[in-house]
């Protein structure tokens, strides 16, 4: 059986790093995993390149521009014994940005999205906010200034040197807006809407792990537009949320510490109910079971 999954996300959302870590995980067999690798595929070149960076605790180079790589994992489900060929295109983030910003999508990407049985959608927990309201910021400033109010400052207004602002650039739209549009496109004519599973992968999870939120809570709070869209568009999108740190730390700050681990697999962190430690194949297996 061949199942097609797809990894989607904006540039820098952690897709390629995830693939590199997944590849090492399946090949090394260092820890127990939901999926077992049966054999190598016909072309391992791309995976070799990205895995090399990952093992060395180097930042995995982003897949850029028109460079799209298609990887295949021949796997067996550890629980059911079912064998599958898992096809995962490693597409550039730019390919996913264009639909919302320019209203066009490359044919290979469009076909891959339409045919995929499941989606792994990436968002980086470490990216700064890209859609703050000026009004909200003013509220914070007013609050802070109220705390530092001195008797002599009075109610004097601060002269604001305002300008017309930077022109709107659709390429720079907030990530959530682009992701939601991507999800809408695939159920829009001429394609026929159908039910799919979607694994939300919150990458760089280690950066926010100490905030005291589960991945589900973080996703609902920090990605409200995307969360609402998925929640209110069931059954077309059945989703689960996973917090993932494929690197295991911040590079280059934590490189020395990560390299000291005897098993590189131990760097990997994944947080979700019922997930085996370090098992990045869990979300992929869940997608495959649809």
């Amino acid at each position: 059986m061949t199942t097609k999954q797809i990894i989607v996300g904006m540039p820098g959302s952690g897709k390629t790093t995830f693939l590199a870590a997944l590849r090492y995980l399946l090949v090394s067999g260092e820890v127990q995993t939901s999926l077992k690798l049966l054999r190598l595929s016909e072309s391992e070149k791309h995976l070799n390149e990205i895995e090399k960076s990952w093992i060395s605790c180097e930042a995995v180079a982003r897949t850029r521009g028109a460079a799209n790589e298609w990887v295949v994992f021949h796997v067996r489900d550890s629980e059911t014994g079912e064998e599958s060929d898992l096809t995962l295109p490693d597409l550039s983030g730019e390919a996913f940005r264009e639909p919302a910003s320019r209203g066009v999508i490359r044919r290979p990407v469009y076909d891959a999205l339409g045919k995929a049985d499941g989606w792994a959608l990436f968002t980086n927990a470490d990216r700064g906010s890209d859609d703050d309201l000026i009004c909200d910021l003013s509220e914070v400033i007013d609050f802070l200034e109220a705390g530092t109010h001195t008797p002599n400052s009075g109610a004097a207004s601060v002269e604001v040197d305002d300008h017309e602002g930077v022109a709107f650039n659709p390429d720079e739209m907030p990530e959530e807006a682009k992701l939601v549009e991507l999800l809408q496109i695939i159920n829009r004519r001429p394609l026929v809407p159908r039910e799919r599973r979607l694994a939300v992968i919150i990458s760089a999870w280690d950066v926010v792990a100490d905030d005291g939120l589960t991945p589900d809570q973080w996703f609902e709070r920090k990605r409200p537009m995307l969360h609402q869209f998925l929640k209110f568009n069931r059954p077309y999108w059945e989703f689960r949320v996973y917090g993932v740190s494929a690197q295991g730390g911040v590079l280059p700050r934590d490189r020395a510490q990560l390299q000291e681990l005897s098993n590189p697999t131990e760097r990997i962190k994944i947080v979700a109910p019922g997930v085996l430690p370090h098992d990045l194949s869990t979300p992929i297996r869940w997608l495959m079971r649809k």
């Binding site: 028109a66 859609d131 000026i134 009004c135 739209m173 939601v180 409200p224 609402q228």
Partner: protein, 345 residues
Amino acid sequence: MNATIRGTCKQDGCAAGVSGVCIENLKLDECPHFVVADPVPEEFSADSESARTMAGEVVQIGRGASLSLAEADALLRSRSASVVAFVGGPSVGKTTLVSTIYELARRRRMVNFGFAGSDTIRGFEERCHLSRTASGRAVPDTKRTSRRNPLSFLHLRLVRASGNAISEFVISDRTGEDFDDVLDEPTRCKSMPELARANRLVFLMDGSLLSAVEARNAHISRARMLFMALLQCGLIDSDRPVQIVLTKLDIIQATAHAAATLARFDDFVAELRTRSGEKSSVQGHKVAARFSGDLGTVGSGIEDMMQGWVALPTSRSFVTRFRVPAQLSTPRADLMIRFGDRDFT
């Protein structure tokens, strides 16, 4: 077909930008309404190697930043949605209000509504841009809807917290100068298809003008004239509730005579209700799209205003110069076929 020229046509109902066919049967480079698009990004340009490699491998999927008249009509034919027509002069806050509705929904800041999607996300994002820190501004603003922009529509799918029912809205975005023209020629509003089709009229009044002593009476007079024009042209009836919305409440609240201003507004709403007789339900609302420390939150009053939107009948279609088939196989097949003026109600 003018396949090599990219751009959009400002004329209502013309989709030359998609089809390459001008409704006036002009060549696109000769049509005074056609605006040639910006240069194609290098990788998509005909001269680039990557474009040659990708020739035939690009799919047009976007509906654009907003819906044209024909696109809105096609949407209404394919699924149930309510048309909300915004009425008001220049700078009264039409675009700011509709942008703020989108902001509140996408940020989950409304108790009774949730965000379920939009076919015009890019349109909303562009209209919201100057109110965000990403614009580099210190003071929020909204890009004015230019007279050069044709009538367009924004689309929003919301979920009602009670019962999880989906409500879809097609909201008009027309330049305020067009409504100024109605003051000079009242029958002009008959040619505004969104008014005839609307399930609800949102009639905006400018809170900053109402709170300015020197401008208040003139603003009320103009609003009265505009309302009378709508009434006389039969655009206010029992099927079409009217909301008189006072914008910029935050500015009013910052003045010493806020109470008097709000009372004057309430009196004016009562007057319009009397003028409309039993023809329509007329309700008043007060909103502030921008943050006000006293009001406590961005978008004060907007959710209350929207409560009346959810129980709207969805029956009519547009009067359009083009027939748009309801069920088609591809977006490109939504090309408009000219059949002359038709009323599809």
